[in-house]
């Protein structure tokens, strides 16, 4: 079956041109045409004409947002500035001394375990905010008093679940003056959920239905609404094969973004899955316990 593309839908050559510029100017990552073709070759024409499948895959790739290290640094800086602004306003701090004093009572921590990406993000954050290392804590050992402001740093909160779990697990029973959740990306739903618990959420990007690839409000298909359902079927069918549990991403995320250090599972699996599939932005899965670890020890002996 061939797809009846609208006349103004870009062809493969045009989209490769767009990607070339995006990669050079924005993503700043070493992806070339071979990497893209290698990924496109996953689309073998199982659900419609192979060339048409590749064309729609390229279209979705053109709509992907990739956060490189410079972006992360910049966004961490923004997060810190916004956090400072909020602290100053909420606490009526007008003198430099009083601001400095207040900042000495801030405890920063990441979300998740020490080895997870939260730790890496915390490193970016510390570099950009130029904060002393003694103000950073493991989530499980936050040294807080009722004078303290506890701040969690994360890259994305979409359902709000992980953030709430961290809160209940690590902070609920310790004293603090206020609690902040600083995240690069947040969904409206997560912000509401966390705010209800008295957590101040500060974010750089608020994602909503428009950012979901196949929602009615999707920005990806706003020019080509007639293609949306057809494309969704194809992407979902491939998703079923490679990530049966979450063909459109965790909790049907349908998102199209990722960070240089990892890709969230809320994004479409066609980008990140490695199950008999060549990903364009691979995801490093978390191994939650020793049983999940298939460590080929003999390779290292």
């Amino acid at each position: 079956m061939a797809i009846d593309f609208p006349d103004n839908f870009p062809n493969i050559e045009q989209m490769l041109g767009i990607l070339q510029k995006t990669i050079e100017k924005s993503w700043k990552i070493e992806i070339d045409i071979d990497d893209i073709y290698s990924w496109l070759n996953n689309f073998t024409g199982q659900f419609c004409d192979a060339e048409d499948e590749k064309r729609i895959a390229l279209w979705i790739l053109c709509n992907y947002t990739y956060y490189n290290p410079d972006d992360i640094n910049h966004l961490c800086k923004i997060l810190y500035k916004n956090f400072l602004h909020d602290v100053i306003v909420k606490n009526n701090l007008y003198e430099e001394d009083s601001i400095e004093k207040e900042l000495k009572n801030v405890c920063f921590s990441s979300i998740g375990s020490a080895s997870e990406s939260g730790g890496l993000l915390l490193y970016h954050f510390r570099q950009q905010a130029n904060i002393s290392i003694d103000r950073f804590f493991y989530p499980t050992s936050i040294d807080s008093t009722s004078e303290n402001i506890v701040v969690f740093i994360d890259d994305a909160t979409l359902s709000g679940g992980t953030a709430l779990r961290t809160f209940f697990k690590n902070v609920e029973n310790i004293p603090y003056k206020s609690i902040y959740y600083l995240t690069i990306i947040a969904s409206k739903e997560a912000v509401e959920k966390l705010s209800e618990k008295g957590i101040n959420v500060i974010y750089c990007t608020l994602v909503d239905e428009r950012n979901k690839c196949f929602s009615d409000a999707s920005m990806v298909f706003y020019r080509f609404p007639e293609l949306k359902d057809l494309v969704k079927n194809i992407i979902k069918n491939y998703g079923e094969i490679i990530e049966h549990e979450m063909p459109l991403g965790y909790k049907d995320g349908e998102y199209c973004f990722g960070f240089y250090y990892n890709t969230p599972n809320n994004s479409l699996p066609i980008f990140w899955s490695s199950n008999n599939w060549k990903p364009i932005f691979a995801r490093k899965e978390k191994l939650q316990n020793a049983k999940q670890l298939h460590f080929a020890a003999d390779r290292y002996i």
Binding site: G17, Q20, I23, E24, I29, E30, I31, D32, I33, D34, D35, S38, W39, N68, P69, G258, Y260, Y261, T263, K278, P279, I280, F281, A282, K284
Partner: protein, 677 residues
């Protein structure tokens, strides 16, 4: 699959042509990438020493991207310091002494100037120029004292040894109250910094308040700097012959009052202070001074140095080769013994390109032969002729044969035979009465036009690739050249990375794709930022389309037509302004010398062409040829600015030519008339 953390940490390849804007390039890089334009085709009759030490001010004029900023920055103090660093064993002081000049760079940022003007004009309309003068003098003095402090820091001089007398002299010679209590050079420096900070703070705060501007003293240009310089020459003997250059860049951005202010500074310059001014073109700046009766006179008040004036194409190539060499040498992966030629190749292989376009097909021969009435309706005759003239291995040659047939007044079969024999004589190097003409047609006159025509017949785009092509497209403009190279390497990194690093060369397909992309994006970018952008965009698209029509002419009557003429004096003031803006932004370019306006017209005039870099948009030739120039009336120019409506000029030209000639002979290539003297 590149997305992992480690891939970010690997040694990534930096495009050696990435730094293109001299405004933001580090001084060290300006020095390392420096290719001297002095005493080359770029800047004839001007050497570095003269440019540095000439007391008469110099105006450096050149188009956008011609290298004015790089030249001015090369003479600035930060780059001088880098030169001193590179010359092991030579102190900063000895380098200044040997160069006999120090330059201080000031860029006329139009947003800064406009903000300054609006804020201070609001404060006192008749005084805002004085405030600007004050600001400039403070900035100049700050830089002069910084040099002294640097020399002291590297122990080339000892300020302490002369500071007391120096300060006493300054206090005696200038009547600036806040300085009267100074005891050290640092005190004067602090005064300057405080005043500059006050102006900057005032600039920001005045938006929100009605505070009155009250500097602690209002300095006139040179009131303090000249005294400082004179005393430096007394106490630091090595600097007693040093000229202090104020390097003013982007002069055309200044308001008319400020231009007049600087013109006055040019006219009444000081013994040890001179100006070097970078600006685009004569037409858009004033020569008036603040004194309404005094105007600047070239060679009397200043020297005018024009970048690229009369530069020969071979000199341009030589200069570009050197620019590329310096950049390629920085990159270990691209350090190529054959330089840019090894990377891009030199000239296009038009024979090969035509073979790839035609792939043994004969459609082009059929279409060209059909242009002659006696052949068009007779398929059998057409086939007979094609059988005689065909040469599938050489489409250019067989196309020339077809053109000879349709142009001949003899019997078509005899003409075909004659063309074939001339072709064979040419290839076999044997004698034939028409072989000389064949050589000219094949090797010079029609090669390029036929390639474009064949591309058009087979609905392909003419390929643009090779160093020679890029040098033509850049048309002497280093920024365009560097930009094209950058785009090409960027394309190769994406589309053929392995091949690129293995062979250290870039395929013609990749080059062509990048050049086409550059061409279009440069055109759109410039149109989007300039005044009258839409009108200029329309004009260029319309003119380009007219040329494209000429290039598709199956009779190839006017090969490579890409120049046009119009009478600027007939245009309204508004239209002239638009034309001036497009010239200032090098969207259209006026040939340096006036020439005969067209092959059949014995009248001289200004000849224009659209920026060569835009040639790929229209699939037209980038070469400078003589012959026919398309004439546009002022009405046509007006129409073309308003909307996209391509004028039918080929048929008009045809009528014009047929009324003056029976046979079209275009043998005026490369003939240029002498300039008006």
């Amino acid at each position: 699959m590149p997305n992992n953390f480690t891939s970010q940490l690997t040694d990534t390849f930096d495009n050696p042509f990435d730094d293109i804007n001299a405004n933001i390039i580090e001084p060290q890089k300006i020095l390392s990438l420096w290719c001297t334009p002095f005493n080359t085709g770029v800047l004839k009759d001007m050497d570095e020493k003269k440019f540095r030490t000439q007391k008469l001010p110099i105006i450096l004029q050149g188009s956008r991207g011609s290298g004015k900023t790089t030249i001015l920055k090369y003479f600035s103090y930060p780059v001088l310091k880098e030169r001193a660093n590179e010359r092991n064993g030579q102190s900063l002081l000895s380098v200044i002494k040997s160069e006999r000049s120090i330059g201080f760079y000031f860029r006329c940022d139009d947003s800064f100037v406009n903000t300054f003007k609006s804020i201070f004009e609001n404060q006192s309309p008749d005084k805002w120029l004085s405030f600007f003068e004050h600001y400039l003098e403070l900035s100049f003095c700050k830089q002069i004292i910084s040099v002294l402090m640097d020399l002291n820091e590297v122990q080339n001089i000892c300020i302490k040894s002369f500071e007391y007398k120096f300060i006493q002299n300054i206090i005696k010679e200038v009547n600036i109250a806040p300085i009267s209590s100074a005891t050290t050079i640092q005190d004067i420096f602090n005064f300057i910094l405080t005043e500059l900070r006050y102006i900057d703070t005032y600039k920001n705060e005045s938006i929100f308040s009605n505070v009155i501007f009250t500097p602690s003293a209002l300095l006139k240009l040179y009131s303090l700097s000249d005294v400082l310089i004179n005393n430096i020459s007394i106490f630091v003997a090595e600097l007693n012959k040093t000229i202090y250059l104020i390097l003013i860049d982007e002069f055309e951005n200044l308001t008319e009052e400020l231009q007049q202010f600087f013109n006055t500074a040019i006219k009444f310059s000081k013994q040890s202070i001179s100006l070097r001014i970078g600006r685009r073109s004569e037409g858009i700046v004033t020569k008036a001074t603040i004194n309404q009766t005094e105007y600047l006179r070239e060679k009397h008040d200043y020297f005018l140095v024009e970048i690229n004036k009369g530069q020969k194409f071979e000199d341009q190539k030589k200069y570009f080769t050197e620019i590329a060499f310096k950049r390629l040498c920085i990159s270990s992966k691209l350090c190529h013994s054959d330089g840019i030629l090894g990377l891009l190749g030199d000239k296009e292989d038009l024979d090969e390109e035509c073979r790839e376009i035609c792939r043994g097909r004969q459609e082009h021969l059929k279409q060209i032969l059909s242009e002659k009435n006696s052949i068009s309706s007779n398929a059998e005759l057409k086939d007979q002729i094609i059988n005689i003239i065909k040469n599938p291995n050489n489409p250019i040659a067989e196309t020339i044969n077809a053109l000879w047939v349709i142009r001949s007044k003899d019997d078509v079969l005899i003409s075909a035979q004659n063309a074939k024999e001339a072709m064979l004589a040419f290839f076999n190097k044997t004698a034939h009465p028409n072989v000389k003409k064949y050589i000219n047609d094949y090797e010079n006159k029609y090669r390029y036009s036929i390639t474009v025509l064949l591309s058009s017949i087979y609905k392909r785009k003419k390929l643009y690739y090779g160093f020679n092509t890029i040098a033509h497209l850049a048309d002497g403009n280093p920024r365009t050249f560097i930009n094209i190279c950058r785009t090409i390497i960027s394309d190769a990194l994406f589309y053929e990375k392995n091949r690129f690093f293995e062979t250290k060369s870039i395929s013609k397909e990749s080059q062509n794709r990048a050049i086409s992309e550059f061409s279009m994006s440069e055109f759109e970018n410039v149109c989007s930022i300039i005044k009258y952008g839409n009108k200029i965009r329309n004009l260029i698209l319309n003119v380009g389309n007219v040329f494209a029509e000429f290039h598709k002419d199956k009779k190839v009557r006017y090969p490579e037509t890409n120049q046009f003429v119009f009478n600027k004096l007939e245009l309204s003031d508004d239209l002239r302004n638009i034309i001036n803006t497009s010239e200032s932004w090098s969207m259209i370019i006026k040939r340096e010398k006036t020439q005969r306006v067209s092959a059949s017209i014995d009248r001289k005039g200004d000849i224009y062409y659209i920026n060569r870099a835009f040639s790929p948009i229209f699939n037209i030739s980038y070469r400078i040829r003589g012959g026919v120039n398309v004439r546009f009336s002022s009405d046509e120019i007006t129409r073309m600015m308003v909307s996209l409506s391509t004028e039918r000029k080929l048929s008009q030209q045809d009528k014009l030519e047929s009324s003056t000639k029976n046979d079209i002979q275009l043998s005026l290539f490369n003939q240029e008339d002498r300039p008006n003297e």
